[in-house]
């Protein structure tokens, strides 16, 4: 038995004991997950137990160094842990932008003090982090952001507003792009800072979407003091950190679009609704659209598999996250267009128990934002054209 085999066995045994049965079911929405403090409440005793066991095992961030509370696992081990968690359909014990976004940036760019201050708290789910990137006039053109951080010697005084902060009202701390040099060219005067959202001067306002939900806020910052040691990376070099993180974000969004992969296929769903005639879906026109969709979905899955294998083999495709972001989100929009067509009259129900509170039309509407948030599809195509194809201009 190789070391990896015995590691797998160890993981499997441990999970058998430590993952409560009720945590071995797919979750229905992000609200079913534990996100760490803001309020810190658990939805169930099992959720709490599962989280605490994983924290104790240092596996909420299995790949991070042990020094900062991570699991210290290597790539192969992380892959095995993921596979074993997937095998029993274990829910994530802790969902967190701290783990998925800030952490990687801190590990790569942060000072030793910053890492020690923030990473262990993230791993233990003690702080809920939110992101402050976009501003009302800095969307696709993110680098034109205007939030001002004035140098006051030992600290910055920050003023301005951010928009599209996911779950901003639930945030404990924010990581944020601010302008620290007002004369420099636009990419060169930006810094990446973190601050406590409970400070006076920080307020949020929910943004209601066309789906009726409000998963984002506007965040207003008025005369907030940010210590200089809370800058990640060098002052005025925050754009490098931002680019690094945007790549992470694109990958997350592309993956999110694929989270339906295990669900009933569109073909099956359509067959339930329309039935077959001579072995063929009765709605023959929709059948053509569904077949094309299923083909494209499979192609994307295979490409994610291939690029993953390539990365492991040391071959790297630059800017592939842009391709995945583009395809993943466009496909997810198509999925919901097709589901709306399949469910016809039923797909229009906006309220009520029968429709799970209008789950389908609201999710359809929400999916429209996939190709906007985290860099629009247009921005991704620009990146592919310029960085991969090396087209001029």
């Amino acid at each position: 038995m190789t070391n990896l085999d015995s590691f797998r066995q160890e993981v499997r045994d441990w999970l058998e004991v430590n993952c409560p049965v009720s945590m071995r079911r797919p979750y229905e929405s992000e609200a079913d997950l534990f996100w760490g403090r803001h309020n810190g409440g658990f939805q169930s005793e099992d959720q709490k137990i599962w989280f605490e066991h994983m924290v104790a095992r240092d596996w909420t961030a299995p790949a991070w160094p042990k020094t900062y509370g991570g699991g210290g696992l290597d790539n192969e081990q992380v892959k095995i842990l993921r596979e074993e968690l997937g095998r029993i359909q274990a829910r994530p014990p802790l969902e967190s932008f701290g783990i998925s976004m800030l952490g990687p940036a801190l590990l790569k760019f942060g000072s030793e003090d910053l890492k020690r201050q923030h990473l262990p708290a993230i791993v233990r789910g003690e702080v809920r982090w939110v992101q402050g990137y976009s501003e009302p006039n800095a969307g696709s053109d993110l680098a034109s952001l205007q939030m001002r951080a004035e140098d006051r010697g030992d600290h910055f005084l920050v003023n301005g507003s951010k928009v599209w902060t996911s779950y901003g009202e639930l945030g404990d701390w924010m990581f944020c792009l601010v302008r620290t040099d007002f004369e420099a060219r636009k990419h060169e005067g930006i810094s990446f800072v973190v601050f406590d959202m409970s400070l006076p001067g920080v307020t949020t306002r929910p943004i209601k979407l066309i789906s009726g939900a409000s998963p984002f806020t506007e965040t207003f910052i008025e005369d907030v003091r940010v210590e200089k040691d809370q800058v990640v990376g060098e002052i005025n070099k925050g754009w490098n950190v931002a680019k690094y993180l945007l790549t992470h974000e694109r990958e997350m969004i592309a993956q999110a679009g694929l989270s339906n992969a295990g669900n009933t296929s569109l073909g099956e769903t359509a067959t339930e609704v329309f039935g077959l005639s001579n072995g063929v879906l009765r709605n023959t026109m929709l059948r053509s659209d569904i077949a094309r969709f299923e083909m494209d979905e499979r192609c994307l899955d295979l490409t994610i598999e291939r690029v993953h294998d390539e990365v492991n083999a040391g071959v790297s495709l630059g800017a592939s996250s842009s391709m995945f972001k583009f395809y993943g989100t466009e496909l997810n929009k198509r999925r919901f267009e097709l589901l709306m067509a399949i469910h016809g009259n039923d797909a229009l129900l906006w309220q009520g128990k029968e429709s799970k509170g209008g789950y389908l039309p609201r999710t359809w509407l929400r999916s429209r934002g996939n190709s906007i948030e985290g860099g629009t599809s247009e921005i991704q195509l620009n990146i592919i054209a310029k960085r991969i194809l090396d087209l001029p201009g």
Binding site: G139, I207, K208, M285, L348
Partner: protein
Amino acid sequence: MSLVLNEEELMLRDSAHNFLHSRAPVSHLRELRDCHSSTGYSPELWAEMGETGWTSILVPEEFGGLGYGYVEMGIILEESGRTLTPSPMLGTALVGVTALNMAGTAKQCSSILPAVASGNYLLALACDEISQHEPDHISCTATRTDGGYQITGHKTAVLDGHIADTFIVSARVGSETALFLIPAGFEGVTVEPYRVLDTHLAANVQFQQVEVGEAHFLGRPAGGQRILERILDVGRIGASAEMLGVALEAFERTVQYLKERKQFGVPIGSFQALQHRAARLFGDIEMCKSLVLKALHELDERPDGNAELASLAKARLGETSRQATAEAIQLHGGIGMTDEFDIGFFLKRSQILDNLFGDVCYHLDRYARLRGY
């Protein structure tokens, strides 16, 4: 007939435009939603529309109407699409009146049409029974009794079902399809309203052993399926006219936004990739304009109907209004996703209208069948 609006029609369009923009712009829809209106439309506004003559457009003069044609009705619907004004125009003034004009007895017409014309009577076509529009699959039955018929069945997604005074109901009599006029107040009729995604309401309607007399046949007992298809084709073309308004307004707002919104120091409308998408959409909408006008003309000129053109219009407008409203959101970016901004309402209405009386796939299929393949 020339595919251009004549002077009277242009005047009607201007006055409809002015009326709707001043009395019922998109904010009107928003208010109805935010106050959780149980009707989903404004009866006061409907009364005004009645006074303006819109409810009378298709009602023959002998029944107190104006006896105008479908081109005029299409103009009103297109303009209503631009402002997303909710009202019973499509369900009652177009579909309901058409049904009576086509098939109603003199008595039915004289008792209902004047009330419709004066804005005091609403009709609703109840034909869908499942999640999909399949007007020739009818489980609702009308069983012969001593005094007439007993009707039992379930209809779903009934446009304006929650406010209708009378339903036009498709039911099986033996192996035949018949249409009945069934007042909402009859015993055994249960209306369950529900809200759909753009804040409109619709209803499921149960008919539980509803007793009706011979006089409740819409016109003659025979040939119901053919008449139903013709009524539906009129509704489809009306929905297409409304979708044209939805698509046009969404497109024009988007083009305007492309000129105003700056990123990277320039208006985003200067980016060629967006220009080409806008230019294609412009062309698609121009195609739709011709199609809707032709379909309306045909309704006025050929009483036999033109099923092929109706399916063509419904499919093509469904496609283009989907495209126009989806591009509207994408090109508006984040702000287009917010409830505060109006553009999302166009996407929602487009979905409702695409679904109504058969969606793109339904009509692609029907079109191909009608053309023999």
